[in-house]
């Protein structure tokens, strides 16, 4: 019933956004309508956790709302509400220089609806169609600045890789469709598959959904698509869209395979997860584009979550309740954290770009003096994103690492344990690199002096902008203070599937004490504030020592590149980036470096560019089938029918 309310609401919303010129008032009304639409979902947020009323909607097997769906609907709703509030501020600029806001909002509308149906949908056809709608609408949102050449080029990466992923998703569904002869997810649950079918289904789904989540060789679209998209769309994509693959892989394991998983799958997820997470944040550390840093960090976080799905699957395969519960807890907790802080950071990035007119952090600096409120809000976001203890992200990372530690200590089989040791090292490096990259981002952007003297900063603040920041900061504090929420959600998800009543959640092994810690910090902060008023009265400002030179040039500060120079030099071999190695004339003469430069070119040109050009060429060829002549189409139909009959004759 509540779902139908939402759909009726959507019809009105669509009519409203698709027609009529936009002005400030209409913009505000549209965003208010979007907010109200997300609020109609509130009933669905609870429905999945309510034992009596969870299940199928409208009496058919088209939409299903269980604990997993409700959990992801909560994240979807929270991200959506925050972004809607923010859009009031962000799109005001668009009102002046970009006329076609109707099209833009229609695409956002389609994007949102597709994501909603993907979450609640329980039918393979509905799912696939909506996945395609989501891809296409987000593609149009990404290339909104289509006048720039790079925009289309980079958008195409996204389109191609998303469709490659689509192919693999279809491949992953096929074994289930064959075995259950049905498109309903309901009939797929626990259906008997041969080992080959199981492996094909799982690995194809992993690659297919991994392409959307940024699996390692297919992650190239993420850092390319985000910088060109507008910030609220980036926030929606990075905050929520990348959670959909996670939800689907979780559904594959929990619902479709009914928790009967192979150990190999868990190990694959663990290795791929920790490797991709490490590489993602590793490249984030040296980026100069503020949105690329965040995009690479998205790769890191999503793959950390997927590594935890790996821990969860290993726990299921070994039937170890403690590993299962730690993995599940970590993945749910980190999904929620990532949804909140990454959305917050993308919104802040949008605001900074809007105010300064540049995406490059190499030009920024000293924003704290002109934007004190924004800098304090950003501090909370950055502390959370870099996993500093009183904040929620650290708790989820700790739960993940503890899950891996339990594998090392409790599991049998030395190979599994060795692999997990390697993964723990990678995850540890990942967390410290996340810390480094965001300390770097924050200290370069906010403290010090501007690195470009021409940097102009608009300082006027906007109520809805600040409201959205406060919304997400409050959300971050709530998840930091109440980690117990997630163990309830995890136990509902495990308990909801009746096939494994044996697994009881055991989360008593380690204690979260964020509430205590935050209280201590707050109390001491108040005392210190009182003390400092009294004690530090005689603080004087003076010119710092400068080796006798009269002034300190603004260029003499440490820049965004030099701050990570030792780390870059230490891991030189891993970067394989031409721009990173040509910082010194000396290196250009070095023969080994030349080899590096060539290899990098090989990797991008052959590895990606040729593939993507090839796929585009193939599409052009396929398009010649679509020639608009009716008799040809009837001919295709006839030919397909004949072919299918022949195939049937052969197989049956």
């Amino acid at each position: 019933m509540f779902l139908s309310l939402g759909f009726v609401f959507l019809a009105i919303l669509f009519l409203y956004v698709a027609f009529g010129n936009f002005n400030t008032q209409k913009l505000q009304r549209t965003n208010a309508l979007f907010c109200m639409y997300f609020l109609t979902n509130v009933f669905l947020w609870i429905q999945g956790f309510w034992p009596g009323i969870e299940g199928y909607v409208w009496g058919m097997h088209l939409f299903h709302i269980g604990a997993i769906e409700s959990f992801f609907l909560i994240l979807f709703g929270m991200v959506g509400i925050g972004v809607s509030i923010y859009s009031n501020y962000y799109f005001e600029e668009y009102l002046h220089h970009w006329k076609n806001l109707n099209f833009y909002y229609s695409m956002i509308f389609l994007f949102v609806v597709a994501m909603q149906i993907i979450i609640v949908g329980s039918n393979a056809m509905v799912f696939l169609v909506m996945w395609e709608v989501m891809t296409l609408s987000s593609y149009f949102l990404v290339i909104h600045e289509y006048e720039e050449n790079a925009s289309l080029e980079w958008g195409n990466y996204y389109l191609v890789i998303a469709h490659v992923g689509m192919f693999f998703i279809l491949l992953g569904f096929i074994p289930f469709i064959i075995a259950s002869s049905s498109f309903d997810f309901a009939n797929w649950s626990g259906v008997m598959l041969t080992p080959e079918q199981r492996n094909i289904a799982f690995f194809a789904a992993l690659i297919g959904f991994g392409a959307k989540a940024g699996i390692w060789p297919l992650d190239i679209w993420l850092p390319k698509a985000h910088p060109i998209a507008s910030s609220n769309v980036s926030a929606l994509m990075s905050g929520f869209m990348v959670k959909l693959p996670i939800m689907m892989i979780l559904k594959f394991i929990v619902v479709f395979f009914a928790m009967q998983v192979d150990l190999v799958w868990g190990i694959t997820l663990l290795i791929a997860g920790s490797l991709s997470a490490f590489l993602g944040i590793f490249y984030a550390m040296t980026q100069n584009d503020i949105k690329r840093v965040l995009a690479f960090s998205t790769i890191e976080n999503v793959w950390f979550i997927l590594a935890n799905i790996g821990v969860f699957a290993i726990g299921l395969a070994l039937w170890n309740p403690l590993i299962v519960s730690l993995g599940l807890l970590a993945l749910l907790y980190h999904s929620a954290n990532h949804a909140f802080y990454k959305t917050l950071m993308f919104l802040i990035a949008g605001s900074i770009i809007e105010r300064t007119g540049t995406r490059s952090i190499a030009k920024m600096g000293g924003l704290v003096k002109v934007l004190p409120f924004l800098s304090i809000i950003t501090m909370f976001g950055v502390l959370t994103i870099s996993g500093v203890p009183p904040f929620a992200s650290f708790n989820s990372e700790l739960a993940g690492i503890m899950g891996m530690l339990k594998i090392i200590t409790d599991a049998d089989g030395s190979v599994l344990r060795f692999i997990t040791i390697g993964c723990v090292v990678l995850i540890a490096l990942m967390s410290v690199f996340a810390f480094v990259s965001f300390v770097r981002l924050y200290s370069i952007v906010f403290s010090g002096r501007p690195r470009d003297l021409d940097l102009k900063v608009r300082v006027e603040s906007h109520l809805s902008e600040n409201a959205s920041y406060v919304f997400f900061v409050v959300a971050i504090f709530v998840v930091s203070l109440f980690p117990g929420l997630f163990s309830h959600i995890a136990s509902t998800i495990i308990g909801g599937s009746s096939t494994v009543p044996l697994i009881q959640l055991q989360i008593g092994d380690f204690e979260f004490i964020p509430a205590y810690l935050i209280l201590v910090y707050a109390l001491l902060g108040v005392i210190v504030y009182a003390l400092s008023r009294f004690f530090l009265g005689s603080l004087t400002k003076a010119v710092p020592w400068n080796c006798g030179y009269p002034t300190i040039p603004h260029r003499s500060q440490y820049s965004s590149r030099s701050l990570v120079q030792p780390i870059r030099r230490l891991y030189e071999g891993l970067y394989m980036q031409a721009s990173d190695l040509s910082y010194n004339e000396y290196y250009k003469k070095d023969r080994n470096t030349l080899k590096f430069l060539k290899r990098k070119a090989y990797f991008t040109n052959i590895g990606y560019l040729k593939c993507i050009r090839g796929i585009q060429y193939l599409w052009d060829k396929v398009r010649s089938l679509q020639n608009g002549v009716l008799q040809y189409y009837i001919g295709y139909l006839f030919g397909t029918l004949m072919l299918m009959l022949l195939v049937l004759y052969y197989f049956l």
Binding site: L429, L524, L570
Partner: protein, 305 residues
Amino acid sequence: MFLFVSYFFCIALALAAIPFFDTILKSIKAIMNGRRPLRLLQGYFDLVKLSMKQTFLSEFTSFFSVIWPWILLINSLVFFSFIPIVFGYFDMNILYLFCVLSLGNFFIVLYAMDNTTYFWGLGAERELFVLSIVESTLVLMIVLFAMIGGHTDVAWLHMIFNKSVFSPYEIIFYTVLVVVFFYTILAENKRFPFDNPSTHLELTMIHEAMLLETEGKQLMLLEIASKIKMYGFISLFVWIFIPWSFGITNFFLLFLLWIFKVMFVVAIIAVWEAVITKIRIFKYQEIFVILLVSQVLLMAFYILK
């Protein structure tokens, strides 16, 4: 409640003893270098002297620089308050305990970058570099604790080596873990092979470079914060690796024993710092790679045993 009060009484006593330990460290180093030792209460005098000085700040700094030293001090205090001196009170994961300090690292880098001079930036850069190297060794050490002790909670860690007879493989574990933790203390607190705070040369400094022009009360705050952090690490070392209480049960005698144990570790650090030299910054990773590999070998040994 009695436990709670006596635990924090312990913490307060230990905090009061920290400048004294620091004086001992400097004195032993001075004797080793052929200089005259310090007065016994010199550490306290230094702090008082700093607190009476006027504080100057760079004119480019923002309100960040006014607040951050205080937050650093709070962070170090919170870290120290979770460390068992005589007995453990909190069920706290040791990884949590180490990561509490990352807030302090965050703010000291911001503090350094806020000053805008190149020297401070250099300190920040090296601080991040050392952090990125130490982390994985630290996590593997925790994995080893979990493997051989079955616990990762700080309050339980002293049970691992609290026995009178060691089996041969326990001796190997003990030796490697002691070396790893010792080098972690030196690297995290910017002690000698990694940093030479007594010279003001840009080649050698890390921590000192970040507060080169700090003076007066701010310098006092930062000094106290870094000392608390260092002696927190040393107390943790004592708690895990020198856990023997020799049958003593009296609270005050146990505290005295703790003082002697810390002075023992301090003496080792001082002697070690006097005999070795600072190494090049791009050689740091070599030490930690050796430690990492030896830990992995230990794990292989344990798993295949």
